[in-house]
Symmetry: D2
Subunit: 155 residues, 4 copies
């Protein structure tokens, strides 16, 4: 309740940092969001201010984002905004704008997206012989055929 | 100004209807957005009300959405909300909730996405010998290698 | 979770309907939200489409809205969007766009607002002699003492 | 286009700073937005993280906000989010989260609001004998008259 939700359309501005925490997989990256405005004098759309967010994703969203996102990709991110202020060493206050992501998607205004649904946990359990442990995409050799195709497409 | 922006996370509920209009490509589909709430009595997340929107996309977003989206796909959509009221034949008023999409993406909370950036018009013009007419993804044989990989991944 | 939140800036388009339900006070009114866009040809801001919402408020928000809002007032409303579809008598489907309001405020871009905080329930209980039953403002001549104080606060 | 709009519900956390700039009146204040979540273990709503924003308002919105807002007031603010990063003296980077306000209103979930519409500039010009110079709200004694004028203007 009273959470400040943000829907940001921008570009992945750093490589992703992936970590396995006690609470599960976690990923973070910087997102650059440049506003555009109609410049009446130039009669043209012009770049305005660029906001930078640190996007955080957890669990399945972290795993899938790590398998899908590359530096520069155009994305739409919905998340809870967290403005964090900390006093650093010298006592200087410092703030950052974090987005605790709920949903992340490649922006189809800029390209096409081939989607591969993550099997639900139950579905996995029901499978007689699961060929992989987590629906990982970082897998090396034994990734299912579809994932290989996808990896190719990503490059 | 004063536009009502909506960021909706849901599922594609119909096949896409694609049309070439005088103003360019246009696509529409129904989007189902089911809220989830914490049921204190059951101590479990429970489905709430489902909103249905008619999502409209134009130009490049229409072309790419048509090439990327399938019935049932989980998506995040940012768009301008338009509540339309019309008097139908009998004079009965009727309303629908439309989203004029700005960005559409496959929701990585539910799966992985392999992205293929649409070449910018200038880039296309600079190419010595464009192998396709529109930056189409529905191309058949002469699509670049990446698109073939992607097509495979889609299936 | 997955609720579609909307923040709408518009005008109260009907009188308020106030009801005491078993679940507590409830109020509803129609909200008109007209988008504005920059018309490049006319070089002027121009009215675009108008969205109509039915805004619902409950409990204390209902009581205070009923005491504060008048037809035509400019407001900002944050709420959960509910698109409702019903089959009416003849079987014809009908939809409406409801906002289940979380917060409602008079828009200070259009005027000034004199605020009178509702005492918290505990505070009320501590009061020796409450001079009114509901913090009503629909009263005619005999407005409670607090409202006079509020009018003063406007200056 | 691509602006990151935020709708924040919180409390005025500082006194307002009002300035007359070459571009017109400007006001700023700090806004505290505390999220609330349902703590399953305690079975109670609990305070979460608090976001602090610097809210900026201009022109008429600045004038009216300065006349209406007090420290501690509960408000709903819609605005464009600007995350600003600057290198301070020592070269240390520093960020702040600004909201360039489009609409500000007292939150009726917490109290009642008596609204006084600002006369439109044209309306003022048309009046034979304007009783005030700016659509001021800081006026002292003759306030009731203004309200009558407003009622006229509204109709």
């Amino acid at each position: 309740m009273n959470e400040t939700m943000v829907c940001a359309v921008g570009n992945v501005a750093t490589n992703l940092t992936y970590r396995e925490l006690a609470s599960g997989p976690s990923v973070r990256f910087r997102l650059a969001v440049t506003s555009r405005y109609w410049d009446r004098e130039k009669s043209a759309w012009t770049d305005g201010h660029t906001n930078f967010f640190t996007v955080w994703a957890n669990r399945q969203l972290a795993v899938n984002a790590a398998a899908s996102l590359n530096l520069g990709d155009p994305v739409v991110v919905q998340g809870r905004l967290k403005v964090r202020e900390e006093a650093r060493d010298g006592g200087q206050k410092w703030a950052s704008a974090d987005l605790d992501a709920v949903a992340i998607g490649h922006d189809m205004a800029r390209g096409t997206s081939a989607f591969l649904r993550t099997p639900k946990p139950e579905a996995v359990q029901r499978r007689p012989e699961p060929a992989w442990e987590t629906p990982s995409v970082n897998a090396d050799g034994d990734a299912p055929v579809q994932q290989q195709a996808q990896t190719v497409a990503v490059t």
